[in-house]
Symmetry: C2
Subunit: 479 residues, 2 copies
C-alpha cells in the first residue's frame, strides 16, 4: 500500500498529521506482506455497510483484507501516521451500523483471519482468529465433546471477532450467559499498531485491570481483536423442547416473571407475540393452532430435561396455557425453526427497524402492553419476539420506506420503544450494541459523568480518534 496523495478523500482528516510527518524523517513504511489491499469500487461498495437500517455509510478509501496480526498492525500504524480512520469488519451482520464505512476510511476486514488455532479439552478453552464463523467454531468444539454457548441469530454467518466486539447474546444466554462470559484473553492491536495480550488462559486471574472485558463490546472503537482465547463447557445433553400457547403476550410475560424467579434450569425461553406469529404464518406455516396471542418456546438441556419441562407444563397449566412437548428431535427442530423464522419473515414484509430493549423481567408485561399501544397508535405492525427469559425483546417495526409519513412514524416508534425501555428500568440495547444507530440514546442512558468517563477511556486508547470514529462514542471525526 502506498501513501495517499493529498488529493485522496482521507487527506481531509490528516492535515495536522501530514504537516508533522513532513517535518520528520520518513519512518520505514509499514508492510502489508500478506494482506490484500483493494480500492475496487465494486468491492468497496459491497463492504460499505452492515445489516442495519437507517444508518449512514460513508465512502471508504480502501479495503484491507488482513491475513495476519502483522497486517493489522501495519494498517493501524499507517492509519495513525496518516490520521486516517479505520473501520474493522467481520462479515457485517451487525444491526447498528457499527461496521459501516466513514468517509475516507480504511475498511479493515478480519474475515480472512479465520483459523481455529486450538481446542484444549483439558483446560476447556479454544483459541481462534477473529474471522472464524461462530457456527464453525461451535461445531469444531462439539467434535471435541465441548460446547460454546453464545448463539446469536447470525451464528451461521457472524464471526467470533464481531461477536466479541459486540458482546453478542442469543437463545442460550438465559442459562449460559453472553459472549463476555466466555472471553478469557485477547490479542489486541491498538490504534498505534502496537500489539498486546490481555487476560489469561487459566480459569481465574486478577493480574491488573480487566482490559479483556473493556475490549469486549467496544465495537472496534478501542482496538482491533486479532486473537481470542474462549472458554468452553462440556457438551450438554440433547435438549428437549416445548411450546406453550397463550391468549395474550402479556399473559405469557406474567408466566415468565414467575418462571424466572425460581430456578427453571431452562436453556431457552423465547417469546413470539401475535404479530410475530402472523408474520411467520405468512412466510411458512409453523403449525401453531389458530387464534393464539403468543407462543413461548422453551428448551432444557439438563440431565433432568423431562422433569424440567414437566415443571414448566405444570406452571403453564396454572396460567391456563396449552403446552405441547416435542416428541423427538425433528419436532424439536421444527419448533425452534418457527422462532428462527421470525427474522426472515418480518424482513419479507417491508423495511424493518429492529429494536433491542432489555428490561427487568417483572417489567415484561408492561413492555409488551406498551409496544402494542405504540403499534395501535401508529397503525404500524410491530412484531415483538425475543429472549424473554432475560427480559431482552426485539420489537421490530415494519413499514414502507418509500412512504415518508410511515418512515417518520417508524422512527418515532423506534425512539418511543427505547424511551419505554429506559422508563421501565432497562437498557436501550440488550445485545445488538450501539454502533451509529443508538449513539445518541447511549448518551441518554448514561449519566453525564459516566458519559465523560467513556470519552476519557476512548481518548486514552485512541488519542487520534481513528478507530471506528463516530461509533458508540461521538468523536469529532465522527460527528
Amino acid at each position: 500500500m502506498t501513501r495517499p496523495s493529498p488529493a485522496t478523500p482521507r487527506a481531509a482528516h490528516t492535515a495536522t498529521g501530514d504537516d508533522l510527518v513532513r517535518l520528520l524523517p520518513p519512518p520505514p513504511p509499514p508492510r502489508l506482506d500478506s494482506g490484500t489491499v483493494t480500492a475496487d469500487p465494486g468491492i468497496l461498495a459491497a463492504h460499505r455497510a452492515d445489516h442495519a437500517t437507517f444508518t449512514p455509510a460513508g465512502e471508504p478509501a480502501a479495503l484491507v483484507r488482513a491475513r495476519t496480526t502483522a497486517d493489522v498492525s501495519a494498517t493501524l500504524r499507517l492509519a495513525t501516521e496518516l490520521g486516517v480512520p479505520v473501520v474493522p469488519q467481520g462479515t457485517r451482520t451487525g444491526l447498528t451500523g457499527g461496521a459501516n464505512a466513514v468517509d475516507g476510511c480504511i475498511l479493515l476486514s478480519l474475515e480472512k483471519m479465520d483459523r481455529i488455532l486450538g481446542i484444549d479439552p483439558v483446560e476447556q478453552i479454544g483459541t481462534v482468529q477473529p474471522g472464524v464463523v461462530n457456527a464453525v467454531f461451535s461445531r469444531e468444539a462439539a467434535g471435541a465433546g465441548l460446547f460454546y454457548p453464545p448463539d446469536p441469530a447470525s451464528w451461521e454467518s457472524s464471526t467470533l471477532g464481531g461477536n466479541i466486539a459486540t458482546n453478542a447474546g442469543g437463545f442460550c444466554c438465559v442459562k449460559y450467559g453472553v459472549t463476555r462470559d466466555y472471553v478469557r484473553g485477547l490479542e489486541v492491536v491498538r490504534a498505534d499498531g502496537a500489539v498486546m495480550r490481555t487476560g489469561r488462559r487459566t480459569a481465574k486471574g486478577v493480574a491488573g485491570y480487566d482490559l479483556t472485558g473493556l475490549f469486549v463490546g467496544s465495537e472496534g472503537t478501542l482496538g482491533v481483536i486479532t486473537e481470542a482465547t474462549l472458554a468452553l463447557r462440556p457438551a450438554t445433553a440433547e435438549p428437549l423442547t416445548a411450546v406453550a400457547f397463550f391468549a395474550t403476550a402479556v399473559e405469557a410475560c406474567r408466566l415468565i416473571v414467575e418462571l424466572m424467579a425460581g430456578e427453571p434450569r431452562l436453556s431457552m425461553v423465547e417469546l413470539m407475540d401475535a404479530p410475530s406469529i402472523e408474520a411467520v404464518r405468512a412466510f411458512r406455516d409453523p403449525g401453531f393452532p389458530p387464534g393464539i396471542g403468543a407462543a413461548l418456546l422453551v428448551q432444557s438441556d439438563s440431565a433432568e430435561a423431562a422433569a424440567d419441562l414437566s415443571a414448566f407444563a405444570a406452571l403453564c397449566g396454572r396460567h391456563g396455557a396449552e403446552v405441547i412437548t416435542a416428541g423427538d428431535r425433528e419436532e424439536s427442530r421444527m419448533l425452534l425453526e418457527a422462532r428462527r423464522m421470525v427474522g426472515p419473515a418480518v424482513e419479507s414484509l417491508g423495511t424493518i427497524l429492529p429494536d433491542d430493549v432489555c428490561v427487568p423481567r417483572r417489567a415484561l408485561p408492561d413492555l409488551l402492553a406498551a409496544v402494542g399501544a405504540i403499534a395501535d397508535r401508529t397503525g404500524l405492525t410491530i412484531t415483538c419476539a425475543g429472549h424473554a427469559g432475560d427480559g431482552n425483546m426485539h420489537p421490530t417495526i415494519i413499514f414502507d420506506a418509500g412512504d415518508p409519513g410511515q418512515t417518520a412514524l417508524a422512527q418515532q416508534a423506534f425512539d418511543d420503544i427505547m424511551r419505554l425501555g429506559l422508563d421501565l428500568g432497562g437498557t436501550v440495547t440488550g445485545e445488538h450494541g450501539v454502533g451509529l444507530l443508538k449513539r445518541g440514546w447511549l448518551r441518554t442512558e448514561l449519566d453525564p459523568v459516566a458519559a465523560a468517563t467513556h470519552d476519557a477511556v476512548k481518548r486514552a486508547l485512541d488519542p487520534l480518534g481513528i478507530l471506528n470514529p463516530g461509533k458508540v462514542i461521538a468523536t469529532p471525526e465522527g460527528d
Copy 2:
C-alpha cells in the same frame, strides 16, 4: 475537615496544587456532613495496613469514615483540590498491601457504609453499600431463598466493596465463578469527586463500554465504589461433602486434571498437601488418617449430589485414593473446617508469606512438585493448599522474620513461585490481587504494550494520580 497547613505531612505531595489554589478564589469547601474525620494517632495506626506481609505502610494524615456517597465525593473533591492521595479501605483483610496507607494520605474507610439497600427475589439481584460484610449479605440473601456465591476465606469479615475492588474468589468459584461474575452495576465516585453509575439492573445489556468490569479488580486505583448491584442465584441444595486421601499431592493433582476435564458439577474442589495437613494437625486435629500425602475436599450442591460424589469416589478408586463421604451436616462441617483451618494453622507457625498463583489445571502436578523442590532447596516449610479445581493454589512460606537469612530465603522462594506460575502458563495472582506486593510482578506478567495501556487507563481516570497511588500501577506518587 479543615485545609491542612503546609506543616502537615501531606504538604510534600501538594506543593504544585497548593500554589495553584493560592492563585484562585477559594471554592466552597467540600462538606463532610455525616462523615467522621479523625487524625487520632492510635486510630490512624490501627488503620495503616491490611493483612499483607512485607509491604510498606506510610503515615496517613487523616481517616475519613464515610457514611454517604456525598462524604466520599467531598473527600475526593478535597483530595483533588489539594493533590492529596486517597487510600480506600474496607475491613483491611487484603493480602497484598492494597489498603496500606501512603505518606500523607487520607484513609477513606467505607466500613460504615454498611447497609443492604434491597434484595429483589424476582430479578434475583441485591443492592448494597460497599461496607456490607460478605457473610451478612450472603445470610440476608439466603433468608430470601437466594444465594450469593463468592466466598473468599475472609467472608465473615471482608466487605463486598473490598471483594469487588479485588475481584475476590473463594471455594465456590470452581462451579459458580468469581465476584466479577456477580457485579451488574456500580455507583462509583471518580478521583475528582464526580459520581456516576455504571452497568445495569437487567440480566443483559451492552450499552457502552464495560466500565463496571473495569472497576472490578482495580483495587481502588480508578475510583471508589459506593454502591453495587449484585446478581444472586436461587438457593442450592444442602451440599454433600467428601474427602479423598492420596499418597502424594502430585497424585491428587493428576486426579484433578482428569476430574476437571469432564463436567464434575462439584461446587468445591480444594487441595491440602502434606505440609498443610501437618500444620492443621499441629493446630487442631482434623481427624485425618496418619501418613497421607494430600487430601482433596469436594462438595456437590446439585440436585444429584449423591450421584456426583459417587462418580468422584469411582474416579478416586481408579487413582488408588481412599474416599470418605460425610454422613451428615456435622461431618460435612468438620471436613470443611479442616480446610478452613489451614490459614490460622500456618499463621500460628511463624511469619507467613502467602502466594496466589493460578496455572492451567494440567500444570498442577508440575506446580506442586516444583513448590516441593523449592521447599527442599530452601529448607523452609511451604504449605500448598488452595482451589485446585481452578488451578489456583496458595503456596505459603513459613519462616522466622527475626532471622535475616530465613527472611531472604523466604522472599526468594516467593519470587521463585511466581516465576514458576508464569513459566507454567499461569498468572501471578488468581484472586488476591496485585496491591503493593506484586506490582513489580504485574509488569513481568504483562507485555510492555499491555502495561502501557494499563498506565493510559489509570491516567485517564485518575489524571492526578491521587487514587491509591503506587498500588497495582506504579505511579510517580507511589514509586
